[in-house]
Amino acid sequence: MSTRLFQVWRGDAEQGGLVDYEVEVQEGMVVLDAVHEIQRTQAGDLAVRWNCKAAKCGSCSAEVNGKPRLMCKTRLDELPEGQPVRVEPLRAFPLIRDLVTDVSWNYEVNKLIPPFTPRPGVEWRMGQADVDRITEFRKCIECFLCQDVCHVLRDHDLKSRYFGPRFMVRIAALEMHPLDGLDRTELLAHAGGIGLCNITKCCGDVCPEHIKITDNAIIPLKERVVDRFYDPLPIFGRRLRSAR
């Protein structure tokens, strides 16, 4: 039975810091197991969110050794030996206590996005290829690791101007649904702030569901915005057609 040193952030919005905990570790353990062990035997008041422990619910997001990770999916044997394991809350969001942050901004943004609305009189048939395209986006478990890492939200604090990668994925799932009848391009261009994304692809790097956020969601949506608002040829073409 060996032990490892964990440094877990404790505190609230006013004050706090990393606290050392020595934890007994076993083969196959994940970071969440260690956090639970600390809660059980050393710090019964450690605040943390978790639920499914199978990387499906998106509750246990944190920053492990500085990287946004799901704690239930981060095996101890993939972290460098001989170094303490640092566990911190998601820094892009206001802190509630210890590892629990206030992610409600995301839920507010969600409400700004018009939901699935079928085209009137549509026939309910779809091709598997279309389903596959949006199933990739639907895999999103709303862990908000992508939101946490996006420099626009995290470093520039532009939550009032950019929805963030998760919501680009959500809008893509709606826009690319073959039977949806709404157009969210205007939303993307203005309130959604898609122009603020400069395609650094950090979001895709941290996505636990391996969604190709930038390539499959953001870039195609950017192209729609460009076609509608910026590219002179399609704009001129549309004007000509509507003048006739």
């Binding site: 019964g44 008041d45 639920n51 619910c57 839920y107 639907r138």
Partner: protein, 560 residues
């Protein structure tokens, strides 16, 4: 009292959200209470699919679906409830599609259906291998579209009963602290299953059966509590679920000799026999020494990398992360794990309980559509169909009954009880009691049951409940005190476990998931073709029975 509503739904998983949507459609003022953000609920972990007789993959009918469900239930399911489920299921599935659910499709663009355990025809509609996840998002989108109020991260603790009616609920506000009483003309419990009673379970940590315990403490009877389904393919020791969909795609189950052992237990259906049959087969192989480290092997290799990556990518990922195994090259070690509870709060076919104003739907309820064993794909269907029905019934009751009153005495009593718990400084920490409960239930009330082990378990639970009386909550704070809520959850689980084992001892036969191969190996229709009913009294668990409701099908021998 904080606020009051017409319909208050406790639990915001699929059943809860579907109920809330329906009640709102009918004009009721609805709110939901959830100890988690709604989309974190365990419905989202369901993978395999949702059953309905759409007839897209082959000839099918609601009657055929109903028969498979009745047989699957080992004839303990109430046939009127089952017929309702199977008849209304197709319309409910199409409704989900219209709300944006992206199901996998057939060649000609209709909703695809695949074979699943113990089904006579392929009728399981699916969204890749994330069906529950897609559906919970779809329902949440509908909840948001209707601007339904969600008391998020509120831990529902006690039902308020007054004047012979359920009048609301008292909650602990997990984010800010403090007890909050919410009044409601009707309450719908949709809190899911109690799987966390077991050490090896597929269930999330929040699955502590809170609603079942709340109903129990309010005097409502719990039905068929002994019926606990063990899913045959779970990882050890985490309990992570490997979907039945693998077997639907053609995976094999092997013992340590590389034998497809189901040949000896279910020669016709093989890997697609019903879950209780397979779990028992696996447990026998394990008990008789033909397993490896307590596991049998789920072999996907012959399906080929392309099919695995296309249809079972989630499974492969889980296997890599939680078992350290790549199923393209190696079989996955699996064993039975506590998965789904067929029993629960006794309701009628509209979700109504014996307490006026109190309803229940989903896994926490027992209508009963699953009897002694549930078919894969029927749970998601039940949450939608019976969630809708409970929502409709609750709305109708609320809109035709006068307003509510949460008596001050109820709030004061709760405050006092809470203070006693929080003031305690010496005693035992919850985790030890919880671990002992989990391990002992797995050992003495697992796949195979015997009289002496169950009797021992009743005593063990009594001992744990005694120790629980002096449980200590270390965190005395207000903000995000999960130490407190976990302690309350433990109390719920202990009471539910007592009901489960007591009912198990009473049922002196083997039926469905309740397997007693050593003392009562046969099914006994003459004496036990009845549901068990458990009630909480000062003296302990009191048992009663209620007859099974028959419509079309006489019980016959159940083989696959």
């Amino acid at each position: 009292m904080e606020r009051q509503h017409d319909v208050l739904v406790i639990g915001a998983g699929m059943a809860g959200m579907r109920a809330a949507i329906e009640a709102h459609e009918l004009g009721a003022d609805v709110a939901l209470v959830s100890k988690l953000h709604p989309t974190r609920s365990h419905s989202g972990a369901a993978e395999g699919g949702i059953n309905a007789a759409l007839g897209n993959a082959s000839e099918d009918s609601p009657e055929s679906h109903a028969f498979d469900t009745v047989k699957g239930s080992d004839y303990l399911g109430d046939q009127d409830a089952i017929e309702i489920l199977c008849t209304e299921a197709p319309a409910d599935v199409y409704q989900l599609e219209r709300w944006g659910a992206v199901f996998s499709r057939t060649e000609d663009g209709r909703i695809a259906q695949r074979p699943f355990g113990a089904a006579g025809a392929p009728r399981t509609a699916y969204a890749a291998d994330i069906t529950g996840h897609v559906l919970i998002q779809v329902l949440y989108e509908q909840v948001c579209r209707r601007d339904l109020l969600v008391y998020e991260e509120y831990f529902a603790w006690q039902l308020v009963e007054h004047d012979g009616r359920c009048q609301g609920v008292i909650c602990w506000d997990l984010l800010n602290g403090g007890l909050k009483a919410i009044g409601a003309k009707t309450v719908i419990l949709a809190t899911g299953g109690p799987g966390r009673i077991y050490l090896g379970t597929t269930n999330a940590y929040a699955c502590s059966g809170d609603g079942i315990a709340m109903a129990l403490h309010a005097g409502v009877a719990l039905e068929d509590m002994e019926m606990q389904q063990f899913h045959p393919t779970t990882l050890s020791p985490t309990g992570v679920l490997i979907t039945e969909g693998c077997r639907g795609e053609g995976a094999y189950l092997l013992n340590k000799d590389g034998e497809r052992f189901l040949e000896r237990y279910a020669p016709h259906a093989m890997e697609l026999a019903s879950r209780d049959v397979i779990s028992r087969a696996e447990q026998s192989e394990i008990d008789e020494g033909r397993a490896i480290d307590g596991n049998v092997l789920l072999d996907l290799r012959h399906l080929g990398a392309e099919r695995i990556l296309e249809r079972l990518h989630g499974t492969r990922e889980l296997s890599l992360v939680f078992a350290g195994v790549d199923p393209i090259y190696e079989p996955i070690p699996v064993r039975p794990g506590a998965h789904y509870h067929m029993g629960g709060i006794d309701t009628d076919v509209w979700g109504a309980t014996s307490l006026p104003g109190l309803y229940a739907a989903g896994e926490c309820a027992c209508v009963s559509v699953h009897g002694a064993n549930r078919l894969g794909g029927n749970a998601l269907m039940e949450t939608v169909t019976y969630g809708r029905r409970a929502g409709a019934a609750a709305a109708e009751f609320a809109l035709s009954h006068p307003t509510v009153e949460v008596p001050e005495a109820a709030e004061r009593d709760a405050e006092r009880e809470l203070k006693t718990l929080l003031d305690r400084t010496s005693g035992e920490r919850p985790w030890k009691i919880r671990d002992e409960l989990g391990a002992s239930m797995l050992e003495n009330f697992g796949v195979f049951r015997r009289e002496d082990a169950m009797e021992k378990q009743v005593e063990i639970i009594e001992g744990l409940r005694e120790r629980y009386r002096s449980v200590v909550v270390e965190d005395k704070g207000d903000v995000f005190n999960s130490d407190l809520t976990q302690a309350i959850e433990l109390g719920n689980m202990l009471d539910i476990a007592a009901c489960m084992v007591t009912a198990g001892i009473w049922r002196k036969e083997s039926r469905g998931a309740h397997a007693r191969p050593y003392d009562y190996p046969e099914r006994d229709d003459e004496n036990f073709l009845v549901h068990s009913l458990a009630r909480w009294t000062d003296g302990g668990v009191a048992l009663d029975t209620t007859p099974v409701r028959f419509t079309k099908w006489e019980p016959t021998e159940r083989t696959y």
